[in-house]
Symmetry: C2
Subunit: 234 residues, 2 copies
């Protein structure tokens, strides 16, 4: 399937650039036909997709740069993103502080500490354990400190501050995409859907959790492809 | 020399934490005795120190966390800092865009492209060359693009936008430290002094380039130690 949702024969595959994003395009094929219109909010380990869809139209931007400019692709996710790239400044002890510009801790560490995720799949920045104490050590290093210097309460507050910044970024862009295309409902997907719920609740918008709609929601692109093949057979 | 500028005998060295920052403390010893008061703005490859000094007083914060909170330590420099940690959002094509949260390009790339630095000492993120074209490729990746997608003019503008963010951050904190201690002049050091000049000129404050004051300015800590030893001998 190419970027325009056209099914291609093997010999037609010439422009690989048009295929690069085929995964979410196939997902949209499924969503458009089953839910007519909406915004797909798919928060993954590394990136967040905020993709508008309406059956019969192609609303989404078609390459990564245009998607970033349109607020449809955010290059942060709920596992692999370095905290230094989440917040260039963060609230701490009543002031604003710039965290260390190093690969010390990742979003998986804050969501691990805050109890939002269980045993996560990606590597840790320092190659050490994924338990709460090690995660807290890594987060403390973002302020050039260690666990004892800050203590558990302050590290938890710091994690909450990072989470706020990430939620704000997603919220701002979901609102923007919804307004751009006059769409009023959201479909949540991805391992970061716990963030998506908070975003929708703060925006006071209706949302559907895709994993409640279909058990195979992780295979959305395949569902879309199957549906496309089926439609073509009609 | 410990964090309080006391020369220690070998046997007195018990608290290594008090020695960690001895380098800038020794530099201050030299500066206080030769220039009485000022703010040392030392922009290095990885971090930026903004340290107030006044002969006979200890104005500076004494550990990294307190220094960060006081705006006296910024964890970004002019070579090694990932661009994703410099700007969480950047002006581009009239809008705001969040660059990729990856270790694609560093500050050395932007100052290389902008002609501010020559052959720099640190490694590149992708292990490839340090010429302008390779630097531009790396910077383009920050927007999930390549050189051809953006073109040279747009990449240069992007570099200028990153430089603006870094200058603003330094400027804000230099102003803050100068006001906190009612000091009106700056002493510039470090390989990033080209940024320091811009900061001072925008703040309209008097500055002295330490490399014009002494040829061995890279050895400021040693000068400070020598002076301290000399004073003790008096």
């Amino acid at each position: 399937m190419d970027i325009d949702q056209r099914l291609l024969g093997y010999k037609e595959v010439k422009e690989t650039l048009n295929l690069a994003a085929a995964n979410y395009v196939a997902s949209l094929y499924y969503l458009e036909r089953n839910f007519v219109e909406g915004v797909l909010l798919d928060i993954g380990s590394t990136t967040t997709d905020i993709i508008p869809f309406r059956h019969g139209e192609k609303l989404y931007a078609k390459n990564d740069l245009d998607r970033m400019l349109a607020g449809q692709l955010l290059y942060h996710g709920c596992l692999r993103t370095p905290l230094s790239a989440i917040a260039c400044e963060i609230n701490f002890r009543g002031g604003r502080i710039k965290p260390a510009s190093e690969f010390f801790a990742i979003t998986a560490d804050i969501y691990n500490i805050l109890g939002e995720i269980g045993n996560y799949s990606c590597e840790t920045p320092d190659g050490r354990d994924k338990n709460h104490v090690e995660s807290m050590q890594r987060v403390a290093r973002m302020l050039c400190s260690d666990f004892d210097e800050l203590g558990e309460d302050e590290i938890v507050k710091l994690c909450e501050a990072f989470r706020e910044v990430q939620i704000d970024s997603i919220k701002y862009n979901v609102k923007r995409v919804m307004e751009d295309f006059k769409i009023d409902r959201v479909f949540l997907a991805g391992i970061g859907d716990f963030l998506g719920r908070r975003v929708c609740s703060r925006l006071k918008v209706e949302f559907k959790l895709l994993k409640e709609v279909t058990e195979v929601y992780n295979n959305l692109p395949c569902l879309g492809l199957a549906e496309a093949l089926n439609d073509e057979g009609d």
